[in-house]
């Protein structure tokens, strides 16, 4: 069925499918989407033509196998615009924790035939292997942000990046600060907005899953966490979690005193 609508593909790499599910959870906008674009590939939703040339590719997941490298290069060739979505695609994801350890030793201690597993030495963001036109952080992504970006790209304008900290989302929503009222070690001040302050709204500190804020004063917040009772290892793990290999968080964790395991 050939139409002149722009073509869209949603690709998955090393990931949990959570970002695709976030898109599927969109509700009403999802129903409007086929009116605007031809979704030629979105395996989680049905359409399955990974090799068709498209106008826009949304890419979920990190690059962690030799096969991933070949495939992302193919996707890049087939896409006019490539948007990486989520913590895995933009920073390597939770699985990049293995970048800080010797993954071959780990595999040997878990699997009987580790030589059957073909992996790269690191789990990397899409941008390490191909040119990426836009990155949208989050674990999973905020699907409204993805749709907003799609709308902008379809209109031919550059999407506006999110620049605020999670704290600004707390304050706009009237969420009471968990750090100030309860002494929760909260990553919100150094984390990029986008989640709508989900964790603080539930009374917990932010886990930093949206990755580093535009300005990142890791030393100051690490010192604050120590005053609040976290030991050096615990402070390190605040950075070395979901967005562990995002540039700012990675540098932060490597500079912290608790960095003993890698």
């Amino acid at each position: 069925m050939a139409t002149d609508k722009p073509k869209l593909a949603v690709h998955k790499f090393s990931s949990c499918d959570g970002c695709q599910l976030a898109l599927l959870n969109l509700g009403e906008p999802l129903l409007a989407l086929p009116g605007l674009v031809d979704i030629v590939h979105f395996a989680e939703a049905g359409p399955n033509s990974p090799d068709q040339p498209v106008d826009i590719s949304l890419v979920e997941g990190s690059v962690s196998t030799p096969e991933d490298i070949q495939r992302i290069q193919q996707v890049r060739q087939n896409s006019k615009l490539l948007v990486s979505i989520g913590a895995c695609a933009t920073s390597g994801g939770l699985q990049a924790l293995a970048n800080f350890a010797n993954r071959h030793e780990w595999m040997a201690s878990i699997y009987t035939d580790p030589e059957n597993i073909e992996v790269l030495n690191s789990s990397d963001p899409i941008s390490k292997h191909v040119k990426v036109d836009l990155q949208i952080q989050g674990c999973p992504v905020n699907s409204a942000q993805v749709i907003g970006a799609l709308r902008d790209l379809l209109s031919g304008v550059a999407p506006r990046p999110e620049v605020h900290s999670v704290c600004m989302e707390c304050k706009r929503k009237g969420v009471i600060c968990t750090m100030v009222t309860k002494g929760e070690p909260c990553m919100g001040p150094v984390t990029l907005a986008g989640c709508g302050a989900l964790c603080p709204a539930a009374g917990r500190g932010c886990y930093g899953c949206y990755g580093p804020a535009e300005q990142l004063n890791d030393r100051s917040i690490a010192e604050r966490f120590e005053q609040l009772g976290l030991d050096a290892q615990a402070v390190l793990r605040r950075f070395r979690f979901i967005a562990n290999s995002a540039a700012g968080f990675k540098t932060a964790s490597e500079g912290l005193r608790g960095d003993t395991d890698g």
Partner: protein, 374 residues
Amino acid sequence: MQQSAKIERQPGFLPRSDFQKLLDGIVQSGYQLLGPVVKDGAIQLMQISDVTQLAKGLTNEQQPGHYRLQQTAGERLFDWNHGPQGLKPLCFAPHEVLWVEQKDPLSFTTRLPDVKPTAVLGVRGCDLSALAIQDRHFLHAAGADPHYRQRRERLLLIGIDCAHSAESCFCASTGDGPSVNQAVDIGLSELDDGFLVWSGSDQGEAVLQRLDLATAQTQQLEQMEGQTEQAAREQQRQLPKPEELIRLYQRLEHAHWQQVADRCLGCGNCTAVCPTCFCYDTQHEVSLDGLSAQNVRQWDSCFSASHSSMGAFKVRGNILSRYRQWLTHKLAGWQEQQGRIGCTGCGRCITWCPVGIDLTKEADAILWEGSLDE
């Protein structure tokens, strides 16, 4: 510059057991009533109708980066000072649609908020002064903001003297508290056995007409004055005088700015809780089909990259320049632009800063430490 309660007040006395009658009078006069209640460990303004919902017998511990409520042995309803927000969110909404537009046929429609007349119980002096500053910005500058005005015009303000100061409070040095010296519809001062109550507007007077106030005794008036004087004496912080603060502009290269930047997270909490900060950002949210859009305004902050971005170029690209912008604008620049400093001494930016940065200490260090580069 310290103020005492020696202002034009002719209060009557309302016994503690009759306080519910005041609340009833407000509601019966057609207002929805917002009052201070405890929610998620902090004082917040919520819709109430009954005196039992109020934050009774509580005081607040407010220090740099630290806020806790504590039980007192007493019965008082207003022994705390405030929570993270003053009146700002009630008039200058954190997030709101300003207008909507349709593509075909092309139309633009202003979306004014639908607001009920709203009475706010227990507003402190620092927040009343801050409201006057916001009024000047949103209402009196050329072209009043219709969204702000819509909300502001429907507010009935019930002020309360502070009988205590929190550790972060320093309103005595800015002249904005601890007593209510600003325009209010109804004023309150809480005593051990009840309240001194006075009206400051026709609307306030209409509410008080419903009550049967006793004549205030000299001893009660003395207690009122004594309490606010005591609250002022309790204050441990102070801001330098406005004419001294102007000199911040001569110290833009002071080494201390870097020391603050080493601690500051650039998170923007200070600006979001500040009752006078008025910066916002507007964005176009286009529907997915591209046929309609809404123009949305939300609180911005001089600590965010968007605040000083000129296309690809950020005028203030680091935390140092952003903190310097916040402090110099608030304490010096506002004097020229708004006729006074932009700080009313509420202390919120100190309490709600995750790392406890204290503007009074930073201003002192920058003004008085090291050599002058003038």
